[in-house]
Symmetry: C2
Subunit: 221 residues, 2 copies
DNA sequence: AAATGTATAGACCGGTCGGTATAGATCGCG
DNA sequence: CGCGATCTATACCGACCGGTCTATACATTT
């Protein structure tokens, strides 16, 4: 494709050039990505719309054209995190080619790498994007709370599959599979929280593997 | 004690009467208690100083007379939570009169009751005061992060004693006692987080007891 | 009684918050 | 070309933010 440099560039031209040069997709997606990073590395409450706009190089008019409110942006950011985490960390770890319990250990390793990379990049361990929103906004904003809860359930569901497979293969004794998967996910949230409190990803590496020791027995009849 | 009602009441007189009549201690403590409730039931970031003053029936001048900044107040609130939780939930559960592992189950029950009472009172499950601050402020404010981390370690230390006792008594096999205690505490943080995400304290009751299944093996030499 | 320290009250500060209004630029489409 | 839809830019809004300042009331010390 050739774009003449003699004519005055239209928005479309600039958009095409931007996309080709910087891999920045359309404005809405760019706002979304910028907000996701800022919300995760700082926090939802402490990052204002003006900051997001400045960081994304976008005007407030554009922002409110695509997102009717900050809350809508927050929900969209959560949904994008869910998709991205399911497509990367979860997909890598929960492949059925690995024995069920090994999947859990691989997931722990993915979490460790993820948080460690963030520390190396930003100097702070950001923790879980969903856990952060829950702790910060659950008592204030029911929409965000419900959305974050949905994201948590979505990811925890992959754990449940692994637990079910492990029981079937005999790697785990009979137990309450759903509850055990939830307990395991809770454990991973908790050690990410403690790692964030210390700003030290090593805690995930040392304590993470113990996720395989968690067992919630079947309710007695 | 008798206070004459004929003379004009001094501040000290009124203070004495107030304390006797309303059980409200001195102003600083009252601000602290009000802020603790607001921070816990809402969040640190979303509760302003003006709100705290109004709720406590205190002027801004008084506030800044006792607390040089919101951050200092935050640290004081965390410290008070640490003392209060150690004096109540922890003290009730971790009495050496109970077998070590029973202490853990009792602590879970205390956590359940605590969060359930909050739900009944305020309609929302507030979660752990330290975990909330960590998730919200750890990447922004190193002072608050460090203080919250200290509070977490302080409480986790009681878990470690129980784990050590359990290993000694044979209730638990040999394992990394400190790491296991940390893992257990992380687990409890995690299920409180998930309970907050669902606004449902029952999750603590059903998943909590599995804390006794967590084991971090001793590092191989 | 004077002086000093402690506590309280509230107006006030610059800055930021989420969100709106309006005008203009650019788009696809007829 | 012209028209309506889409998108961008920015000034602006009232509310609130953490924090300062000044004035005053009272207690304590001398």
């Amino acid at each position: 494709m050739i774009i003449s440099i003699n004519k005055r560039l239209t928005y479309t031209d600039r958009s095409i050039i931007m996309r080709a040069m910087t891999n920045i997709p359309d404005t809405k997606q760019h706002i979304l990505d910028t907000a996701a990073t800022l919300f995760h590395t700082q926090s939802y409450g402490d990052v204002g719309i003006a900051t997001i706009c400045k960081e994304a190089g976008v005007s407030k008019g554009s922002f409110f054209h695509f997102f009717p409110s900050k809350q809508d942006l927050g929900v969209a950011v959560l949904e994008q995190f869910r998709e991205k985490i399911n497509a990367t960390l979860v997909a890598k770890a929960f492949s059925s080619q690995y024995p069920p319990m090994e999947r859990l250990l691989r997931f722990v390793h993915e979490l460790y790498q993820f948080q460690k990379d963030q520390v190396d990049q930003h100097g702070h361990l950001p923790g879980c994007p969903f856990g952060n929103i829950v702790m910060e906004q659950a008592t204030q904003d029911d929409v965000l709370r419900t959305k974050a809860d949905g994201c948590i359930r979505s990811i925890a569901n992959h754990l449940r599959t692994a637990v079910t497979d492990a029981v079937q293969s005999g790697e785990l004794p009979p137990l309450d599979e759903s509850a055990t998967a939830e307990a395991m996910f809770g454990y991973l949230e908790g050690i990410q929280l403690m790692a964030k409190a210390r700003n030290d990803p090593e805690l995930i590496r040392t304590l993470g593997p113990a996720v395989t020791s968690i067992r919630v027995p079947r309710p007695i009849q």
